[in-house]
Point group: C2
Chain length 278, copies 2
């Protein structure tokens, strides 16, 4: 007489079977099965359900033109990194590993010369050279590859977060590899920074005993016609939080050294390997 939990789930899944678009049908039916399985597994109470409703509502209402709290939630639950692994790990194992895009990417960065600096504002950051070679998976250098690079300043913030202080194009730029596949960028050493923690996601991090810090990194998108586009990071081996990056972006193969060169300037050597387009 009374409908059981599993019967109810089956009724809801069946109700979605009329979805005209096959992919939307697959996604919504799977989502319902997994959401219901979660509630059944933990025996979610009325009060806990309502706490969840309030949390999701507050998360939506924290969003505006420059703040995307649901992406932060996805990031801190490892969901964004999972989507990244699902979609970008089936390239040849020899290619450079991808990691998440993050919320601070701005397209159309200035194209800069080989070896040019992308520092447009001096806040005392530690000078560094970021360089390496871009190759295919057989080790052949790729000339004319595009590297789109962005990172934070010594303040901990990206230019897009400090529009009144940093020039809009500070610490970002597009570089083309030379005839030997090499790139070279003058910059500053990136620093760890907290994700915005004054909203619902920050509260959840606090309640779960977690911090809000990301390990220091430089973002790199690399592309060349005929090759799989890459979105990745380079992490500073001396950074804090490599083992506890709050958005689960660190991969061992993306950790590199910042070592003083003959002139005392730090050098970070990081080679990038692109896979052929499938």
């Amino acid at each position: 007489m009374s409908m059981t939990e599993d019967e109810l789930t089956a009724v809801v899944v069946d109700r979605l079977s009329a979805t005209p678009d096959a992919r939307l049908r697959e996604i919504t039916q799977s989502l319902v099965r997994h959401l219901h399985a979660f509630a059944k597994e933990v025996r979610l109470t009325d009060e806990e359900w309502f706490t969840g409703i309030q949390f999701l509502t507050a998360t939506g209402q924290m969003c505006d033109d420059v703040r995307q709290e649901f992406i932060l939630l996805s990031d801190t639950l490892g969901f964004s990194s999972l989507i990244d692994v699902i979609n970008h790990s089936d390239v040849e194992a020899l290619a450079t590993e991808p990691t998440i895009l993050g919320p601070f990417y701005v397209p159309e960065s200035p194209v800069r010369e080989f070896g040019a600096s992308m520092v447009e504002y001096d806040d005392g950051g530690e000078a560094a050279v970021f360089r390496g070679v871009v190759t295919d998976t057989a080790g052949n250098p790729l000339s004319g590859a595009m590297l789109d690079v962005w990172q934070n300043a010594a303040t901990g913030f990206y230019a897009v977060q400090q529009p009144d202080m940093q020039p809009a194009t500070n610490l970002r730029g597009r570089y083309i590899t030379d005839e030997n596949g090499r790139y070279e960028i003058r910059t500053v050493r990136p620093v760890p920074y907290p994700i915005p923690a004054d909203g619902p996601v920050g509260k959840l991090l606090g309640a779960t005993g977690r911090h809000e810090w990301r390990a220091a990194h430089i973002h790199v998108k690399a592309s060349k016609d005929g090759y799989e586009p890459l979105t990745s990071h380079v992490f500073d081996r001396e950074s804090d939080y490599l083992d506890s990056d709050t958005v689960f972006g660190v991969k061992d193969s993306l950790i590199a050294d910042f070592i003083p060169g003959p002139d005392g300037i730090l050098v970070c050597e990081h080679d990038i390997t692109l896979a052929l387009l499938k």
Copy 2:
């Protein structure tokens, strides 16, 4: 070298193991496992992930003091009904079945006399008497039980939805059972109504080939000291949408007849059984 999907999920679950509150730890770890399982099962793409982010954001931003779009989402995914089954189906099988509270409950309705009308505004609704007996699971009548009742008007709206038209206490009231456990309420026949469909949830219903209608019903909360409180509905057997109530609230045992009595006025007889408090 590269982290697999399952390894990533394990890392995130492990990161939550430091959650001080054991229950929050259990809930967040389970949620991460099930959310990740969903994404892996459907192989969620970057674009689909972002569509989901936008949908959740719009859902949060649709919420205000009188609109709770996340509850509508929970309702239309059968999640609210599931929470109800999980938490309120372990009372003795002989008790009246519960169903969801819905968004239109207002506490502190006027206490009205046995047989009194809760119609305070005439919009042409079909007059009806709603009555029955409240008993324990052995069939003994329960005098002094409280029934807190609310329903919509012939316009399709609850008083709380039409503050400029309906008196605030129209079609809601609290009634006490008499010495024979009986209650009797003069009212109007409830009508089917659409849940608010001008937001993200309405779009999702449309995209999944579903309608936004609820079958006609009267809400009843019943309580008496020493007994499990009940939140339930009574559905009109002649209503449309009994087989496709958009929030999955209909249960066979809660469907009742509206039959003309000797004076031509419709009568809906519905007995209610309360289980002893566990």
